[in-house]
Symmetry: C2
DNA sequence: TGACGGTGAGACACGAAGTGTCTTACTGTC
DNA sequence: GACAGTAAGACACTTCGTGTCTCACCGTCA
């Protein structure tokens, strides 16, 4: 994708400026200064300005998120184990994400929007791209996409509003949840591998 | 002075907005919203807008600073002890001031200006007003003002750039410093009380 | 050496946002 | 029922951010 070190600097600058001042208060110039590039260069890299820049930042963050997540999914024993690991480590990642918690604290409206409304389709899209290869061994493509979408929505929901009943960060709780609510729906069509 | 609870709310709002976004990014409207007053009211309270408002905030912070400091100066045994307590507790106050450390971190330029250039005369002024009554017992008024000014400058300097030689937050070090550099200058005219 | 791609710096017009003032209507108090 | 203080919003004015463009500069490669 984008290997240009200057672009990475700009994205890093956008991230840290965003943490310091919030999306609403940041200007293109702030980011350009922080990144040590001129405004002209920034517009050359991200034609469209702030919107495009922050879109790119969200995509990068999302891809990093799933890259980190993938590490924990490698040795999965079976379909159930794969799903349990998915929700568990995704939950851990979310809870450990400092940038996310800063954004949720300082600008809850926009951040929630990105997690639950405008941004959700992209989250599900990226999740599907990253997780499809892993689920493919167990389920037909369309079914896999369905379960990835469902789990994405659930992980986000339980992260934002923790439940008394379920803690998707806990192995036993996550396993029980998957066994009860997810697996039954797909049982008949399961493929062993 | 100003006992109006709404004014206090506005000053508190200015302080917290300032910590969140920095002086440069805050707007009058942000502060009015945070304080729960209308913009019109805010201009009525502080005619002149942002400048006047933040001036008032600095004055309040400064007076609170010296009010807290005064608590530690009551039982001073003698002139030396008074000066030692002054520099020591002032240093402690400065080091413990979260607002100050936030401001120094997020907007070092403006904050340093307030501590060392534009704001210094006021700091010295308020320090003199607060400390003069305590020093009066030992020194003539003019001499007292001189020593208060000198110590103000020194405490700020050692706070901003700690020394290897001297730690004005430590009782022994502060005492040695006062004995070596301050008392000799005033010894001849000392008045016991 | 000269062409070339990429960059910083700055000018520019435009639009958005903040400012400071004012008027109006509302609310609670005496 | 007069009064003081306030919220809300209109208003003109100014500042600031934006997006685009031009130009000068610099290192690279031919």
């Amino acid at each position: 994708m984008s290997l240009d070190p200057a672009e990475l600097r700009v994205l890093d600058a956008a991230k840290s400026c965003c943490e310091r001042w919030g999306l609403a208060k940041v200007t293109i110039e702030d980011i350009a200064n922080e990144a040590g590039v001129s405004r002209a260069t920034l517009y050359r890299m991200f034609p469209g300005g702030k919107d495009v820049l922050f879109e790119a930042l969200r995509v990068r963050e999302l891809e990093e998120f799933f890259t980190r997540l993938s590490v924990h999914l490698d040795g999965a024993d079976d379909f159930e184990d794969l799903l349990v690991r998915c929700v568990m480590h995704a939950t851990h990642e979310l809870r450990a994400d400092q940038h996310l918690s800063l954004m949720l604290a300082s600008e809850p409206g926009d951040t929630l929007g990105q997690l639950t409304v405008e941004g959700l389709p992209r989250i599900i899209g990226v999740a599907t791209v990253f997780l499809a290869p892993l689920v493919d061994g167990y389920l037909p493509r369309a079914e896999g996409a369905r379960v990835v979408e469902l789990l994405s929505r659930l992980v986000i929901s339980y992260f934002l509003a923790p439940s008394e009943q379920v803690d998707l960060g806990e192995p036993e709780s996550a396993r029980a949840f998957i066994q009860t609510f997810i697996l039954p729906a797909f049982q008949p069509s399961l493929i062993r591998s």
